[in-house]
Amino acid sequence: MAKYARDFHMKKKAVFIYSDDLLTYKFHNQHPFNQFRITLTIDLLKSIDALKEEHIIPPRIATEKELTLIHDPSYIQAVKKAGEGQLSPDIAEGYGLGTEDTPIFKGMHEASALLVGGTLTAVDWVMTDKAEHAVHLGGGLHHGFRGKASGFCIYNDSSVAIQYLLEKYHARVLYVDTDAHHGDGVQWSFYDDPNVCTLSIHETGRYLFPGTGNINERGNGKGYGYSFNIPLDAFTEDESWLHAYETAIWEVAAFFKPDVILTQNGADAHYYDPLTHLSTTMKIYERIPKMAHAIAHQYCDGRWIAVGGGGYDIWRVVPRAWSRIWLEMTDNNHFNGPLPEKWISKWSKKSPVPLPAAWEDPEGIYKPIPRKQEITEKNRLTVEKALYPLRHEH
């Protein structure tokens, strides 16, 4: 008994925010945004005994008041009405609802508010010292705007959570976004605020949605110099991607000295991802949480909250990539070689593509990139320009 009592008061290393209710954030069967990827991830983690029921904490639902930390009340009312089938198409379009990207579905307000609440649950566990780290893979909907849905995102859980961190915990927040798409919603939410530093590493907006995320988007007013963007060329490969990420995250963290780090872990920069044009492999998804973890311990006394995000190859990429976050949080990131047979045989019949055999991608999943050297050089220049103010401050 004594042992249990002590355990009860002990700070957990990490918690995993999840309940099946999160799967209600679903547009329709053909939509690329599919939260079934969380089920696949959990099943992969369970099949290697890395995730147990005692780690899993159900999300709470965000209140309307909490949503208004970021969102306009009129927009929240519109989302509610839409979810009840009461919003006219004309009005819906003005709010970015009922589009091909963000179709209306029944109960969309409740599903989206739960998703936001999941990220708030993660924040509370970490900020009240009950856990060092927390992951909420249902979150990371970084395109949501104050008064408008955009790019598969209705409410912006990360923006709400950051404002919540500012107001309730008075924390300086470093937001790091490694989704292949620019983290526009979060960036614009805190563009004027020097207590929030945003770093987004993404494919250039030349072709890719949303088109923003240029180097020169550095913030505004008091927030000038607290927004960093590294737009990488299409076809960027592991080495160049990791150079950009590792250089930027360390230099930005050293400059900003955050109290807490919030990472958005979109897993759509992989070569297999159908919506983007980067050419990375599983190598980056092993390194991404490693660096975030190291920074959390160096600057934030361990405080690290991770959320999900994009990721549209839900069979071959997302489960392996997102498992790495949890494995890293629990100091268990040593898995390599074959994936568990149990997991492969359970899902291979359902998967429309052959499932990967191992944690790593084999060599040669794509043909050599013809202009690799130029792309690498261009990316290096991009990193230099983006970090120039930090390197020449005085």
């Binding site: 091909e100 955009s150 790019g151 072709y207 299409a234 013809p370």
Partner: protein
């Protein structure tokens, strides 16, 4: 069609011809501007001084006494007197061409002989950014089409069937082959795959993303 008065800056900082170079340098610094129109008492434009010209004049003088002398000199002895100007009803496209053709950084806008506004490259550029739709979330799709009548209609019909909202359309000549043009669409969607598929199915050549030497 956008006209100059919709985008021009109506709050113009000016100086009289007998103001000194020192006055001009101070105004440039305090207002963070790069050009000062010089006007007479009737608001008639009589000249223009630019930050670059003034810096060129003052920075080459090392001797303090001579520098002080120069700073006291009136603007009318240094200003540009033949100033390229625009009218509030000019079209933005025409004005953009004036900037390009005359290699100028600003355009005073004159109506009825009086200075009523000023345009800098920044305003013109911002207008073109808006024209390209790059200030709104969207994906960019480029389609290479033969230069023939009705082709835009054909392509747009496909886009319409996919219920995609077009933020902007630009038409470029294909620099490699003059028989073709490149249509550039900014579409309000994060998932352009269906649309690209539909365009290809109709026999169109989609360049996405278009990087010389690489195709997917």
């Amino acid at each position: 069609m956008m006209i100059v008065e919709e985008i021009m800056n109506k709050e113009v900082y000016t100086l009289p011809p007998d103001a000194s170079i020192r006055d001009a340098l101070q105004l440039l610094k305090s207002k963070k501007i790069r050009h000062i129109p010089v006007v007479d008492e009737k608001q008639h434009l009589v000249g223009l001084v630019t930050e670059r010209d003034l810096k060129n004049i003052t920075s080459s003088i090392f001797q303090k006494e001579i520098r002080e002398e120069i700073l006291k000199k009136p603007l009318h002895s240094f200003m540009i007197k033949k100033v390229v100007t625009g009218h509030p009803l000019d079209f933005v496209e025409e004005v953009a061409y004036l900037f390009y053709d005359n290699q100028i950084g600003c355009l005073p806008i004159v109506q009825d002989g009086k200075l009523v506004g000023i345009l800098s490259e920044t305003e013109v550029l911002h207008t073109f950014v808006e024209l390209t739709g790059a200030n709104q979330p969207g994906s960019q799709i480029e389609v290479k089409v033969p230069d023939k009548t009705g082709i835009l209609y054909e392509v747009v019909t496909v886009i319409h069937k996919q219920k995609a909202n077009v933020l902007s359309v630009l038409v470029y000549p294909d620099k490699k082959d003059e028989r073709y043009k490149i249509l550039v669409f900014r579409v309000q969607t994060m998932n352009p795959l269906e649309l690209i598929h539909a365009l290809k199915k109709e026999g169109h050549t989609v360049l996405w993303p278009n990087m010389p030497g690489i195709s997917i």
